[in-house]
């Protein structure tokens, strides 16, 4: 019974990860959506780490999850800062206009 619940959690986390990947590669609207999907990816991995740590009765996974939380916060802060700098120059955050560097 408990295994059944854990498999449900695992499917949830994998689906969340796939939604995050899809948000980056399929939804080509603006940069904020990319930041949100990156955050979603990292959080889904956090969920799966916690599930594995309960499954294996081991503390390492929970510690890893806490570390990922802090790093994800720093990463999204830097992403937002870059977004602000980009917006100041281009005046738009749509992905379709990120094409001034070409080969």
């Amino acid at each position: 019974m408990q295994n059944f619940i854990i498999i449900k959690f695992l499917i949830t986390s994998i689906l969340l990860f796939l939604i995050g990947i899809g948000g980056i590669f399929l939804v080509k609207k603006n940069i904020l959506i990319i930041l949100m999907s990156i955050e979603l990816m990292l959080l889904s991995i956090n969920l799966s780490f916690i599930i594995y740590s309960i499954l294996l009765d081991d503390l390492t996974g929970q510690i890893f999850a806490l570390f990922i939380l802090t790093v994800a916060a720093a990463e999204s802060a830097i992403g937002l800062a870059i977004l602000v700098v980009y917006y100041r120059i281009h005046g738009i955050i749509s992905i379709n206009y990120i094409n001034s560097i070409k080969g």
Binding site: I24, F49, L56, F64, I82, Y86, I98, G103
Partner: protein
């Protein structure tokens, strides 16, 4: 003699610790200077002081390299031995060069913020930690320390259209790569119950004992069970290797590299081209050895395919480039392909040859990058963007043109120059392993890339140009010409010391 110092393991992270302390000292000192005193050229002074602190770390590491110490520190998160100390010394020397050339460059490009050097030092700290990290947690952390600094450095020229755009691209790519890394490490954690690489190795080998003796009928049940876990493990480790390839710009995941290299300021392209590669390659070696020891050959196969693709596509794409930094990006992709290909052959000789190749790659790319960092146009003091502009230096400065053509010959691999020896040992390794068809293919590809470089030399010297472009470039200062001559000297005369270099490695 090897000293095993588990009890004094605080000693082993002394270089990293002192580097982080000195970074915070510089930070506090310059914040005080900026707010309470009005000093010009704060940027320049910060650069010189950070070089001074790096020299001090170099001294620490040098004292470590005399004694042969092995051990782990911080609860088996990091490992320490002489080989890794050598790599850290190389990283710090590259960092010193980066900062030294960035001082003049940022003065010319009007990058006035002194925080630039703090970020470079933090990325150096991340790289040193990445080299010695031996656990998936610590690898993730070190990669993040390094790449968070790189995201900011990429957008450092905040008034530039290209710099910010390159920064967005780099950020997206890096975040996706670290997400995939985390997915892989969670799967490995599920399969083995640990994140430490050495413990993973032990656990897999104890599982595989049954696999290795599976001809005994009693073990058939456990054999089936273990195979499932091995497959899950292979899936996780392939994801980790793919994410490291995304950071290294190996071919199926290379599309970000030319754009980012072109967009960011050149002094930062210099850092991107050299620094992150070293730590990532060492970690790929660790992971690859782990896979081969535990009879998982799929990641090795993946590495091999990616390396072949990156050599072929890198060479053919660099034929069409007209901008210098894009061309350098593709050249870097080709070199990384060669290095990854050496990793797939696991023995002691290949490790030596890999480090030698990496060392020569670093020397050659520094000697090319200092040309585009130093040279500027005389009319408007702008930097040079296109390869055709670089070819006019033969009208302006004959010696510089000779330098450039010698470096190009060194990249092709003409014997007395240093680039020959990296190629020589590469093919020596492949022929030793009886990979004849592969070496023939690689030699043919080398001929194609040789055509490209020889064409540049021909354009520089043997085609008549109109004479009114004299005085196109700025005059060089004494220190710059000293740098050029030092690197030319290294390129020509280090062929006399090949045996010594190999014995150090």
């Amino acid at each position: 003699m090897i000293y095993n110092i588990q009890h004094y393991s605080e000693l082993l992270y002394l270089p990293e610790f002192s580097l982080s302390i000195s970074i915070f000292l510089i930070l506090i000192f310059f914040i005080i200077l900026e707010y309470f005193y009005n000093i010009d050229n704060l940027n320049k002074w910060c650069g010189y002081i950070s070089i001074l602190f790096l020299l001090q770390i170099l001294y620490f590491l040098d004292t470590f390299s005399i004694i042969n110490i092995q051990g782990t520190f911080l609860y088996f998160q990091y490992e320490f031995n002489n080989f890794l100390v050598l790599l850290k010394i190389i990283v710090i020397i590259i960092n010193i060069f980066c900062i030294f050339f960035a001082i003049n460059y940022s003065f010319n490009e009007k990058i006035i913020h002194w925080e630039y050097y703090i970020l470079v030092l933090f990325s150096c700290l991340g790289n040193m930690l990445l080299i010695s990290s031996f656990d998936l947690i610590s690898i993730y952390f070190s990669i993040e320390i390094q790449s968070l600094c790189f995201y900011i450095l990429a957008s450092f020229k905040i008034h530039s259209n290209f710099s910010t755009e390159a920064s967005i691209k780099y950020f997206t790519q890096g975040a996706v790569a670290s997400g995939i890394f985390l997915l892989g490490s969670s799967i490995i954690y599920f399969a083995t119950g640990t994140t430490n690489i050495y413990s993973t190795y032990l656990i897999l080998n104890s599982l595989l004992v049954d696999y290795k003796f599976s001809f005994i009928s009693e073990y058939i049940f456990t054999y089936q069970f273990n195979i499932d876990f091995l497959n899950i493990f292979i899936f996780g480790i392939s994801l980790i290797i793919i994410s490291l390839f995304m950071k290294l710009a190996i071919v199926p995941f290379h599309m970000w590299a030319p754009d980012v290299y072109e967009g960011v300021p050149t002094s930062i392209t210099f850092i991107f081209a050299l620094l992150p590669k070293i730590g990532l390659i060492i970690n790929i070696i660790h992971i690859n050895i782990l896979c081969i020891e535990s009879l998982a050959y799929f990641p090795n196969f993946l590495t091999f395919i990616c390396s072949i693709c990156s050599i072929i596509i890198g060479i053919f794409a660099s034929l069409y480039q007209i901008k210098i930094k894009r061309w350098l990006a593709f050249a870097g992709i080709v070199h990384m392909g060669y290095i990854i290909m050496i990793i797939t052959i696991p023995n002691i000789i290949s490790l030596k040859i890999l480090l030698f190749y990496l060392f020569i790659y670093i020397i050659i790319s520094i000697s090319i990058f200092i040309i585009i960092l130093i040279i500027r146009k005389q009319t408007n003091n702008n930097k040079i963007k296109f390869i055709n502009e670089l070819l006019i230096i033969s009208n302006n400065n004959k010696y510089l043109a000779i330098y450039f053509s010698l470096i190009l010959l060194s990249i092709i691999g003409i014997p007395p120059l240093i680039g020959f020896f990296s190629k020589y040992f590469l093919f020596y390794l492949f022929i030793n392993e009886h990979l004849y068809s592969l070496s023939i293919l690689l030699i043919c590809l080398n001929v194609i890339s040789g055509f490209y470089y020889l064409r540049l030399i021909k354009k520089m010297f043997f085609i008549k140009k109109n004479n009114n472009i004299r005085g196109f470039l700025n005059k060089l200062s004494h220190i710059d010409s000293l740098c050029f001559s030092i690197f030319l000297f290294i390129n020509i005369f280090s062929c006399l010391y090949i045996e010594e270099m190999l014995s150090i490695i």
